[in-house]
């Protein structure tokens, strides 16, 4: 008997579903055969192949977003057992069952687990998270970056705009225009770059507008949730220092 139960070991999923951006969410339960080393994505693929609910009735396949499958693109971010994280690196063996999947509702839900993270890209545009070197002639080589600085700046460059920090932040909601921790940390990254530094005031001034750095309420959930271990609260505090300095310099006309 023991062998039979082992052979039919299953994985239970409770998935929050939503048919259109405006329609009401509902949950469906699934029970799929267990395979060794499964992750949440391979579970979703199994449901896609055979879209049967736990009670045996047919349903539409569950929609989700994924791309790299190695936790560097951020596309498959969703709320798994209450915590926002990437589905590709969420291993079934390490999760409590039933596994509960929900979309990150801080963002507009497109369908089922698919969300629209456009506001994050809008925030990157707002703070000018790039280095403007495009032009009609060769600008020549830029200044060198110290190796010690490059090492910590590299940690900030690991941000994949996945949205987990925004999902965990109590100040990112529809009553608040806060752009979220990710874009603030990107200002620190581009302001640390020797060429990017030449436009640092533009980025600081973008942080000193509505929904900018003032939106941070220091709950520090972001730094505890970031899958890439980016020191987001250190970035925010460093940008608080730089924006404060910039504020006084501007007032004093320096």
């Amino acid at each position: 008997m023991a062998e039979t139960t082992a052979a039919t070991k299953t994985v239970k999923f409770i998935i929050s579903r939503q048919d259109t951006p405006e329609s009401k969410p509902y949950t469906e339960e699934f029970e799929i055969p267990y395979r060794p080393n499964m992750n949440v994505i391979s579970g979703l693929m199994e449901i896609q192949r055979n879209p049967l609910k736990a009670d045996g009735t047919k349903t539409s396949p569950v929609c989700w977003d994924s791309n790299c499958l190695e936790e560097v693109c951020g596309a498959c971010s969703m709320v798994i057992n209450g915590k926002p994280r990437q589905a590709c690196s969420a291993l079934v063996d390490k999760l409590e069952q039933p596994i509960r999947l929900e979309p990150m509702r801080t963002f507009p839900v497109v369908r089922d687990l698919v969300i629209n993270r456009e506001r994050m890209f809008g925030a990157l545009k707002k703070v000018k998270a790039w280095i403007p070197i495009d032009g009609t002639y060769d600008l020549g080589p830029g200044p060198r970056m110290a190796e010690t600085k490059r090492q910590w700046a590299y940690e900030l460059s690991k941000c994949m705009t996945c949205g987990v920090c925004l999902e965990s932040c109590p100040n990112v909601n529809d009553r608040n225009s806060f752009i979220g921790p990710a874009a603030i940390s990107q200002v620190r990254l581009f302001n640390a770059h020797p060429t990017g530094e030449m436009n640092k005031e533009e980025r600081l001034e973008a942080l000193m507008t509505d929904g900018g750095i003032e939106g941070c309420g220091n709950s520090q959930n972001c730094v505890r949730s970031c899958p890439k271990g980016i020191p987001l609260t250190t970035s925010i505090a460093a940008m608080n220092k730089d924006t404060t300095k910039h504020l006084f310099k501007k007032w004093l006309g320096m």
């Binding site: 608040n176 507008t209 003032e214 941070c216 709950s219 250190t234 925010i236 505090a237 460093a238």
Partner: protein, 224 residues
């Protein structure tokens, strides 16, 4: 909110410490005289404050206006936040929610407390020499005493935790180590300032404050 919320939020953060935080500490020390030196010590402290030049102007500019801005803008800040302590059970996230709850409690408490004490002086119902006996009557009622303890703890937590956040918002404590050390210091501030207020509330329950009150009433009776 019209205008740039960066300046409004920055001003809100600054006013919470200077002058309001400073005022809480001075107020706590003045009240503590009631515990350390009894009714005479407290009366001396009150007398010292009332002897300041341009007192009404100082009160309006240094206390009432900052208090109104910090309080009303603070309610808006609280309205703008969610609480997700159910999903993210981290100490700092609890402090984030507590900061908003204690802010609202403090807002109500401060209005009520100013009405019971300072406004009574302004309305001519009591003199500032009688504040000790006013406080004796408030602290002697178990319900008022409990409400005052809640109000005081909320206000002092809001100040101490706000001091920790102020140090981050102004870019003074940046790394996790600096923020951890400042959180210990702010916890110390919370314990010490709370003790000042609670010990003085306990002292106000003493009969000696009542005797001063009856003496004052008797004196008023003689004059009347």
């Amino acid at each position: 909110m019209k205008g740039n919320s960066y300046f409004a939020r920055k001003l809100h953060s600054l006013l919470g410490i200077i002058p309001l935080g400073g005022f809480i500490v001075v107020h706590g020390l003045a009240n503590y005289q009631a515990f350390e030196r009894g009714p005479e010590g407290f009366a001396k402290g009150v007398g010292l404050i009332n002897g300041l030049p341009l007192l009404p102007l100082l009160e309006v500019v240094m206390i009432y206006l900052p208090l109104l801005f910090h309080g009303i803008y603070g309610l808006y800040v609280a309205y703008q936040s969610n609480s997700n302590t159910g999903r993210f059970k981290y100490g700092r996230n609890w402090a984030f929610t507590a900061q908003r709850i204690t802010g609202v409690i403090t807002f109500v408490f401060v209005f009520w407390h100013v009405y019971q004490t300072r406004l009574q002086v302004y309305m001519g119902k009591i003199t500032h020499e009688e504040l000790g006996s006013t406080m004796h009557h408030i602290a002697s009622s178990p319900v008022f005493f409990a409400l005052y303890v809640i109000g005081v703890l909320a206000a002092v937590f809001h100040f101490s935790n706000g001091l920790w956040a102020f140090l981050i918002s102004w870019g003074i404590t940046i790394g996790p180590k600096a923020q951890r050390v400042s959180s210990y210091i702010c916890m110390g501030v919370f314990v010490i300032v709370s003790a000042l207020f609670i010990l003085s509330l306990v002292a106000f329950r003493g009969d000696e404050f009542n005797e001063v009150a009856s003496a004052a009433i008797a004196l008023l009776g003689n004059i009347g």
